[in-house]
Amino acid sequence: MSPNLRIALRFLTAKKRAMLMSLSCTVLGVGLFVLTQATTSGFEEFFIKTILGTDGAMRIEDKIQDTLRQMTAGGGSDFQISQRQGLKYIEGVEEPKLIINALKDFSNVSGAAPVLRGSVLVRADFKNESAQVFGISLEEHLKVSDLGRQIVQGDVATFREQPTGALMGRVLADRLQLSTGSTFILEAQGQRMRYTVSAIYETGVADIDKMRVYVHLSEARSLLKKPSGVSFVQVNLFEKDRAPQNSIQIQDVLKHSAKPWQEREKSWLSTFRALRISSAITVSVFTLIAGLAMFNTLAMIVLEKTKDIAILRSMGYERRDITQIFLWQAGIVLAIGAFLGCVVGALSTLGVSYMPLPISGIFKTETFVVSWNIWHYVQAIATAALMVMIASLIPARRAARLEPGDIVRGTAQ
């Protein structure tokens, strides 16, 4: 053990109460930082998981048509000016099979499924509701969504076996007072077709659960009178975070607009980010208090230990050693505080994760959602380290600046 660390440890243990105060502030700061980041990130990650499990990581829709205006000089000249006029979109994907085959060349794509979408009126015995029908190819769709896991009544196998079966959102089913086995009519394009509720799903996203009815793609084609093409291709990715880069590549190669989930859910993601930053700032106040407590304690020790500083300096300890002795004290409190803070943070995160909190609307959960991420701990420790070390530097430097002659003279005379 270095002499400076040995002295720092002894100084620390001599001021137990003050050091415990600084330590508890550090523990509180780190613990709360971890907890708030775990909860806010938890909800954000759960939201992302929900929307990825429902709408996939990317949607390929609408064919892009380049418009190029050309002006040619007259008089037999070859001179020609070309100017892009911007992009035009042709609604839907005309050749979904070609697109899905082409997507296999993209290594990050884990699955692609065609979806035909259209507005319908749902007629039940009890009442009618406007909705959207989603014609899906079940096996492919299950690879790009969590639809199978979102079933809350009935099962996917029944839907698979029933050509006129339908998967209905829970909110819509409740409104229409339908359950599995019930029949209803979908009305679109002037024609009516009867379907059976094979299963009821719940994503937790209210806008989806009250609007979507999934039917087999062939049924949707008949109902919407669209024998070819689809509205979009839903794509799933191995690495979800690479969706923006992949969408640019896909758009360039396939000449169809490709929208990543980050862009699709921009407003919600911004809200979550703002919440996370806001809570981090709020909790940083606690680490600031930890820093102030440390400043106070060390400033007090410097005042009380001026004699000891003079002794050390008279024995050949340099200014640098004195600074180190005080920074070591802050470092020890910080290290213990950070460790205990992380333990407190982890335990409180675990406790909070069992706390009942029924939420539905943007996602469905019955308890607090938390995220276990090592970076929350790293950020909490880094914030506390920054605050505590800045706060310690001032008294440490003050201690180092003390002139031994001044101290001894002041005491001796």
Binding site: K307, D308, A310, S314, G316, G405, D406, R409, A412
Partner: protein, 228 residues
């Protein structure tokens, strides 16, 4: 002119001002002094005559406003804080009036502290030397007592042992017996002079005690910032 190699400490024409503006006082007015190895010097004089100020300058705890200080042949007057600190650790041992022990540490740890900083000895060697020094000042049985568990006389004896820890060539003592009773005063002085003589160290002590001063090899009286 004496051989300069015999002098552990020399100063020439030292000036020091203390205070600022109207309160500025010319404390040392061109003091010159030499200390030979193996000799004990007493600086005496009334309070405020500049004895302690001179001692702190000689011990490189303070910087003069003018003049030269030489430690073992090296000029220290214009050196930076790092060089002065290194010289203090290697060449100078201090004994202060108010013991100045680090009270959270044991007697042994206090004595080992300068050795740990200098780093010349291994840990077992440091421990042996500290034990031996404490035994030589009569505290062999109290090595593991904290500073707070020692009497004033015992604390000052630990301070003497600590001052000798790095075998410095110069021992500077500011009223080393000023806070002790007659018995302890004699004990501490005898220790200091005996150990210094044995090791060939120059001892410079500031004292108000005429009996102590008389027992030194040389007494230098001071008045109004000058030797008289």
């Amino acid at each position: 002119m004496a051989d300069s190699a015999n002098f552990a400490l020399r100063c020439d024409n030292l000036h020091r001002y203390l205070g600022q503006d109207d309160a500025r006082v010319h404390v040392l007015k061109g003091v010159s002094f030499e200390a030979r190895r193996g000799q004990v010097y007493a600086i005496v004089g009334p309070s405020g005559c500049g004895k302690s100020t001179l001692l702190y300058l000689l011990g490189l705890l303070d910087q003069p406003d003018g003049g030269e200080i030489e430690i073992n042949g090296s000029k220290m007057s214009n050196t930076d804080d790092l060089a002065r600190t290194a010289a203090r650790g290697e060449h100078i041992g201090f004994v202060f009036q108010f013991h100045f022990l680090m009270l959270e540490f044991t007697a042994l740890e206090n004595v080992m502290m300068p050795m740990r900083k200098l780093g010349r000895l291994s840990l077992p060697e440091m421990t042996d030397r500290a034990h031996s020094l404490l035994a030589s000042v009569g505290l062999g049985e109290k090595t593991h007592r904290l500073g707070t568990q020692l009497s004033g006389g015992e604390q000052q004896r630990v301070a003497v042992a600590r001052a000798l820890a790095n075998q410095p060539s110069i021992i500077l003592a500011d009223e080393p017996t000023g806070n002790l009773d007659v018995k302890n005063s004699a004990l501490v002085f005898d220790l200091l002079t005996r150990l210094a003589k044995e090791n060939g160290q120059a001892v410079v002590l500031v004292t108000h005690n005429p009996e102590i001063a008389q027992r030194c090899d040389l007494t230098r009286p001071m008045r109004d910032g000058l030797f008289v």
